[in-house]
Symmetry: C2
Subunit: 365 residues, 2 copies
C-alpha cells in the first residue's frame, strides 16, 4: 500500500465512522492555497484574483465542500439565525404567517429556525432555551401560548417580536390585528341585519381573544343587547361544544361570532348535525379568512387579516431593532369584514329581546 493510500475496506469504515465533512482545509490543499485565501474567495471578499476565485469555486464544488455554519458563526460571533415559534402549526392561518415570515427572513439573508413544538407554555419556554443554544439573534413568536410575563422574560434576553396580540411590556415588539374593531364591525353588521340574539364563542385565553371579547362586549352593550358568551379554545371541538351549549340555553342565538375560522367550522358542522341551516337559522362569522373559508360549501363570512402584511411588518420591525437599535413598537394592522353566504338576516322579523342581564353560558373544560 502506497503512502496516502488506504485499503478500500478501511476507507469505507472511515467514511462510516467519522462521517467527516469536507473542510476549508481540504479545499485549500486541493487548490494549493491557504485556508484564508480560500475563505475569502468563496465568500466573495475583495483581494482575490478573479482567476483564483473561479478555480477555488470549482475545486470546492468538485470535492463537495459545504461551509460549516457553526464554525462560521463561532468565528464571526454574529449569527444570522432567527427563532420562529409557531403556536398552532395545524391552524392554516398560523402556517401562512409562518411561511411568509420565513420567506421575508430569507429575502434579507436571515435564516428562520422554526419550532413546531410550542404547544404549551412549558414546552414553549424550553423551546426558547433550545433556540438560544442555536445562538439566534432574535425571536418571532406566532401566537404562542405564552403569558405576557413569559414573553417579557424572553424579551429581556433578545429582541422579541410577538405576532397575534399586544403584550403589556414595552420591550417586546408586537404585531396584531385590530381584533376589537373587527368584532365590533361584525356585531354592528349583524345588528343592522336585524339580529338581536348574537352569541360569541370566544377563544378563552388564547392570544388575541381578550380583545375580540372586549369588542363583542362593547358593541353588544352599545346596541343594548344581552351578552351570550361561551368560553372555548381555538379548535374545531370548541365550535362544536359551543353550539351545543348555546342551543341548549334558553336564549338561542340567531347569529354566532366565532373566535376564528376553525371554531366557526366546528360550529357550522355541529349546527348542521343538529339540523339547523346556515345562514337561514343561524348566521356565522369567523376570523382570519383561512383558504377554506372562501370555499363554496363553507362560504364563511369572516374578519380577514393579511398574513403577508403581518409577516412583512414583523421582519421589518426585527431588522429595525437589530440593525438600528430601534425601540420596540406595537403595530396594529387592519382587519376587514369579508361578506359571504354564512350571514343573512334572521328568519323571523320579530326578535325576542330577553333581559339585559348577561347570560354567561359557562366555560368549556
Amino acid at each position: 500500500v502506497e503512502a496516502g493510500e488506504v485499503p478500500a475496506l478501511l476507507a469505507l469504515k472511515e467514511v462510516h465512522v467519522s462521517k467527516s465533512f469536507v473542510t476549508l482545509d481540504d479545499v485549500a490543499r486541493a487548490a494549493g492555497l491557504s485556508r484564508a485565501q480560500v475563505s475569502r474567495a468563496l465568500r466573495g471578499d475583495a483581494g482575490v484574483l478573479e482567476d483564483t476565485r473561479e478555480r477555488v469555486r470549482q475545486v470546492a464544488a468538485k470535492i463537495g465542500y459545504s461551509p460549516n455554519l457553526a464554525a462560521r458563526n463561532l468565528a464571526t460571533a454574529r449569527g444570522t439565525n432567527v427563532g420562529l415559534l409557531i403556536g398552532e402549526p395545524l391552524n392554516p392561518f398560523h402556517m401562512q404567517l409562518a411561511r411568509a415570515v420565513d420567506a421575508e427572513l430569507a429575502a434579507v439573508d436571515y435564516d428562520a429556525v422554526v419550532s413546531l413544538r410550542a404547544l404549551s407554555e412549558d414546552l414553549a419556554l424550553s423551546e426558547v432555551d433550545r433556540l438560544m443554544s442555536l445562538r439566534i439573534v432574535g425571536i418571532i413568536l406566532i401566537s404562542t401560548p405564552h403569558e405576557d410575563r413569559a414573553i417579557s422574560r424572553i424579551a429581556a434576553r433578545l429582541p422579541c417580536i410577538y405576532i397575534g396580540k399586544q403584550v403589556d411590556n414595552p420591550s417586546v415588539s408586537t404585531i396584531s390585528a385590530n381584533d376589537r374593531d373587527g368584532v365590533i364591525e361584525a356585531v354592528e353588521h349583524l345588528v343592522s341585519l336585524g339580529h338581536r340574539s348574537i352569541a360569541n364563542i370566544n377563544g378563552g385565553d388564547s392570544p388575541g381573544a381578550a380583545e375580540r371579547i372586549a369588542g363583542y362586549r362593547l358593541a353588544m352593550s352599545a346596541a343594548g343587547l344581552p351578552l351570550l358568551e361561551v368560553w372555548g379554545n381555538p379548535d374545531l371541538d370548541a365550535g362544536k361544544r359551543g353550539v351545543d351549549t348555546l342551543m341548549a340555553s334558553k336564549t338561542q342565538p340567531t347569529a354566532i361570532i366565532a373566535h376564528n375560522d376553525i371554531v366557526a367550522m366546528g360550529a357550522i358542522n355541529r349546527l348542521k348535525g343538529l339540523g339547523l341551516r346556515v345562514p337561514e337559522d343561524v348566521s356565522l362569522v369567523g376570523f382570519d379568512d383561512i383558504p377554506y373559508a372562501s370555499s363554496e360549501t363553507l362560504s364563511l363570512s369572516t374578519l380577514r387579516q393579511d398574513p403577508l402584511d403581518q409577516a412583512r411588518a414583523a421582519v421589518a420591525e426585527l431588522r429595525a431593532r437589530l440593525d438600528a437599535g430601534a425601540v420596540p413598537r406595537a403595530q396594529i394592522l387592519p382587519v376587514s369584514l369579508c361578506h359571504r353566504r354564512s350571514v343573512a338576516p334572521p328568519a323571523s322579523g320579530t326578535q325576542q329581546i330577553v333581559s339585559a342581564v348577561t347570560e354567561d353560558l359557562g366555560q368549556l373544560p
Copy 2:
C-alpha cells in the same frame, strides 16, 4: 469608579454593541472553577462532586448561561441535528406527520431543523444545502416535490429517509403508505355498492400519486370498467376543476376517488356549488383522513394512514442507520378504508356501462 465597575452608560452600550452571550468561561470564573469542570458539571458527566455540580448549576442559571450548540458540535464533531423538509406545510396531514417526527426525534435527543421552504424542486435542493451547512446528520423528507434523481443525490451525501413514496434507489430509506392497495380497496367497495362509473381525480406527479393511479387502473380494469381520469395537483383547486371537467364530460361519474382529502374537499365544494348532492348524486372517497374529514358536515370516507406510525418508523429507521449502520429499507405501512357518509350506493339501480375505451379527460394546467 471602582475597579470592575463600569459607568452605567458604557455598560448599556456594551450590551447593545457586542450582545455577547454568557460563556462557559464566565460561569467558571464566577464559580471559581475551570472551564472543563464546569462543562462536566453542567452536562452531568461523572467525576464531579454533587455539591460542586449543584453550585455550578445555580451560578450558571444566575448569570444566564446558555450553552453554544455551534461550539459544542464543533468540538464534538458529532451533531444532533436532523433536517426535516415539509413538502406541503399547509396540508394538515403533512403537518401532523412533521409534528410527530419532531416529537419522536426530540424523544431520542435529536433536534429537528425544519424547513417550510421545500415548495418547488429548486428551492428544496438549495434548502438541502442550507441544512448541510447546519451539519445535520441525516435528513427526513416529508413528501417533498423532489424527483427520484434529486433524492438520490441527497442520499449520496447523508442518510436520507423519504416519507410518502417509494424511491427508485436502494440507498434511500422510504416509508410509504400502501397507496395502491388502498385505492384498490376503495374501488372494490364502490363497485360492490353498485357504482359503475367511478372517476379518479389524481395527484399528477406528486409523491405517492403514481401508486394510487396504478391502484385505480388495476381495480377498474379488473372490474371491467372504463377509466375516468383527471390529472390534478394535491390542492383544493384541483378538486374543483376536476369536478368541472368530469361533469362536463359525456360520462358523468357516480363516484369519485380523489388523490387526497384536500382534493376531495375541493371536489365536494364544487359539486355542491353545481347543485349536486353527496352522496346521493355522487359518492366521494379521499385519502389521508385529515382531522376535518371526520367532521359532521364533511363526513368524508377516506383511506386512513397513521401519521404517528409513519413518524415512528421514520425515526427508528434513521436511528438504525445512524447508530448501527443499517442498510436502507423500504417500509410500506397499511392504509384502511374509513367509512363515512360521503359514500352510498348510486341513485339509480341501472348503470349505463359505457364503452370500455379509456376516457382520458385531460390534464389540468
